[in-house]
C-alpha cells in the first residue's frame, strides 16, 4: 500500500475518534463524570501557553529530566563498557545491578524524598535511576556481542587496549547503546512525572496532581498532551542524534 494511503486511513481513525469524543458528552453517550471535549482541551492548551502559567513548570520538569538523564549517561555508558569488557567487575557487580534493575524504583520514592528532600533533588534521582539501568545494561550487552575477531585484528596491528576501545568497542557498541538510551528516555520521563506528582507541586507532574485534586479534567488532559509532546520530541531528538552518530562513526 502507498504511504499516503496508509496515512489517510490512520488519519481517518484519529478524526473519527476526536468526533466521537467531542459529541460524547453533549449527547450523553457516557455515564461517567467529566471526560471533557477535544475542543475544550485545545482551548485549555492554548490558554495555558498564552497565560504563560505552564512555562515555569515546563522549565522545572525539563531541568530535572536533563540533569537526571545526563547523570545517567555519565554513569551508565562507562560502567556498561567496563562491565561488558572485563570479567572481574562483571562477576562482582552483576548480582547487585540485577537486584537494583528488577526492583520497582517507585518503591524507593519515599526514601529518595527523605534523602534529597521534596522537589528538584528527589526527581533528578528518580529520573537517573529510571534511565541509568537500560543504558548501562544495553551498553554492556553491546560490548559483549562485539566480534572478537576485530579485537584480534587491532592486536595484530600492534594496537593497545586504548586503541581497541577507541577503534572497535566504542564505534561497535553505538547501535545497542542507542537502544538503551531510547529506552532510558521513556523510563526517565515516566520517573519525572511520577516523582513530581508524588513529591512536588512544581513541574508538569505537580500540576497534574493539582488539577487532578480539583477534578479539572480539561486542563488535566491538556497537561498530559504536553507530556506526550515532550516525549515525542525527545525521542525524535534521539533519533537525530543516532543518525548523526551513525554517520560520524564512519570517520572513527
Amino acid at each position: 500500500m502507498k504511504r499516503w494511503k496508509r496515512s489517510v486511513i490512520g488519519g481517518l481513525a484519529v478524526i473519527a475518534f476526536l468526533i466521537l469524543w467531542e459529541i460524547a458528552m453533549p449527547l450523553r453517550l457516557v455515564k461517567v463524570a467529566d471526560i471533557s471535549r477535544p475542543s475544550l482541551v485545545v482551548m485549555a492548551f492554548f490558554e495555558l501557553a498564552e497565560s504563560g502559567e505552564i512555562f515555569p513548570h515546563l522549565v522545572i520538569s525539563l531541568k530535572e529530566f536533563i540533569f537526571g538523564f545526563i547523570l545517567a549517561l555519565i554513569v551508565g555508558i562507562p560502567f556498561g563498557v567496563v562491565l561488558g569488557r572485563y570479567r572481574l567487575p562483571a562477576l562482582l557487580l552483576d548480582p547487585l545491578l540485577m537486584a537494583l534493575y528488577t526492583m520497582p524504583r517507585m518503591a524507593m520514592m519515599p526514601l529518595l524524598v527523605v534523602w534529597f528532600g521534596i522537589g528538584l533533588g528527589a526527581t533528578i534521582a528518580v529520573v537517573f535511576l529510571g534511565a541509568v539501568f537500560p543504558i548501562l545494561v544495553n551498553t554492556s550487552v553491546g560490548i559483549k556481542e562485539i566480534d572478537k575477531i576485530w579485537i584480534k585484528a587491532v592486536h595484530s596491528f600492534c594496537g593497545n587496549e586504548w586503541d581497541i576501545f577507541k577503534k572497535v568497542l566504542l564505534p561497535g557498541v553505538v547501535p545497542q547503546m542507542m537502544t538503551g538510551i531510547r529506552l532510558g528516555v521513556g523510563r526517565g520521563l515516566l520517573g519525572m512525572v511520577v516523582s513530581e506528582m508524588y513529591a512536588s507541586t512544581a513541574g508538569i507532574g505537580g500540576q497534574i496532581a493539582l488539577y487532578g485534586n480539583s477534578f479539572r479534567t480539561t486542563e488535566l488532559i491538556a497537561l498530559i498532551a504536553v507530556i506526550s509532546l515532550l516525549g515525542f520530541f525527545t525521542v525524535d531528538l534521539m533519533r537525530r542524534v543516532e543518525e548523526r552518530v551513525r554517520r560520524g562513526r564512519a570517520e572513527v
Binding site: 575477531i149 585484528a153 592486536h155 600492534c158 577503534k167 553505538v174 564512519a250
Partner: protein, 270 residues
C-alpha cells in the same frame, strides 16, 4: 635490524598447550620446527585442528608458545610487530569504516603517520589489490572476494616483511578463490614479501608455494616438507602440468594417511 643469516623466520621446537575449561589441556602444536628464507612463499596444509592457525598466531606474536621460540632475523618474537601482518579468513573488516578507512587501520595503529600522510599512502594499496573506485564503499556493499582484497590491502599497507595468511580464501567460492591466488602471486612477485600461508586446499598449497609443509593431525608436527620446483611466474594452466599433478597426488596421500590415523586413533579409544 641486521640480517644475520639466510633465515628470515625460524620456529624452534614450538609447542603450544591450551588449558581447557575442564582442567585438562589441549596440545595444539608439538615440537614444530621450521626455517623460512627471506622472500620465500611457504604454504602449510594439514587436517582440521592440527594447529595450523595457532602456528600463525604464534609467529604473529598473538599467542605465546608454551615451549620453544620464534626468531625473526635472529631476534626473538615477544608480541605483534610492524614487520608482520595477518590476513584473516573472516576478513575482520570494521563494518562502520569505508574501504579506505579499513585499509588505513594498520597505519593508524602504528601511530607514525599524520592523517595527510596516510591519505597519500592508502590509494597505492587500494590500487594494488584492484579496488579503485570502491574507496568510499562499505564492506557490506562488496562481495567476499573484494572484501578479502581489502584485508590484503590493509595488511600490505603497513609494509610488513612477512605476510601471515590464515586460510584467507577459505570463505570464497571456488572460482573467486582461484582468481585471488593468481592476484596474490602477482602482488607477491612485485612486493617481495615472505609469506606463511595456511590452507585446507591442496591445489592452493601447490600452486602458490616455494615449499609446502604438510602437518600431522593433532598435536601438529611437521610430517613432510616438500619443495615445489614449478617455474614462476605461474598461471593457472600449471595445474595440468605433470609435476603439479604428482605433487597434488603425493600430498593427498599424506593427508589421507593422517585422517585415517586420527580416525583409527579415535576408534581405539572408544
Amino acid at each position: 635490524m641486521e640480517d644475520i643469516g639466510l633465515e628470515h623466520i625460524e620456529l624452534l621446537h614450538i609447542t603450544v598447550i591450551f588449558p581447557q575449561p575442564n582442567g585438562g589441556e589441549l596440545r595444539a602444536v608439538d615440537g614444530f620446527d621450521l626455517q623460512v628464507r627471506k622472500g620465500e612463499f611457504v604454504t602449510i596444509v594439514g587436517p582440521s585442528g592440527c594447529g595450523k592457525s595457532t602456528l600463525l598466531s604464534v609467529v604473529d606474536g598473538l599467542v605465546q608458545p608454551t615451549e620453544g621460540k620464534v626468531l625473526i632475523h635472529g631476534k626473538r618474537v615477544t608480541g605483534p610487530g610492524p614487520d608482520r601482518a595477518l590476513v584473516f579468513q573472516e576478513f575482520a573488516l570494521l563494518p562502520w569504516r569505508t574501504i579506505e578507512g579499513n585499509v588505513r587501520l594498520g597505519l593508524e595503529l602504528q601511530k607514525k603517520y599524520t592523517m595527510a600522510q596516510m591519505r597519500e599512502m592508502v590509494p597505492r594499496y587500494i590500487q594494488m589489490v584492484g579496488l579503485e573506485g570502491f574507496e568510499k564503499h562499505y564492506p557490506h556493499q562488496l562481495s567476499g572476494g573484494m572484501r578479502q582484497r581489502v584485508g590484503l590491502a590493509r595488511a600490505l599497507a603497513v609494509n610488513p616483511e612477512i605476510l601471515l595468511m590464515d586460510e584467507p580464501f577459505a570463505a570464497l567460492d571456488a572460482q573467486t578463490r582461484e582468481i585471488m591466488s593468481v592476484e596474490l602471486l602477482r602482488i607477491w612477485e612485485q612486493e617481495k614479501k615472505t609469506v606463511l600461508f595456511v590452507t585446507h586446499s591442496i591445489d592452493e598449497a601447490v600452486y602458490l608455494a616455494d615449499r609446502i609443509i604438510v602437518m600431522s593431525g593433532r598435536p601438529g608436527r611437521v610430517k613432510e616438507m616438500i619443495p615445489v620446483d614449478l617455474a614462476r611466474p605461474r598461471s593457472l594452466v600449471i595445474k595440468d602440468d605433470p609435476g603439479f599433478v604428482l605433487l597434488r597426488r603425493h600430498i593427498w596421500d599424506l593427508l589421507e594417511e593422517e585422517v585415517q590415523r586420527q580416525a583409527g586413533g579415535k576408534g581405539m579409544k572408544a
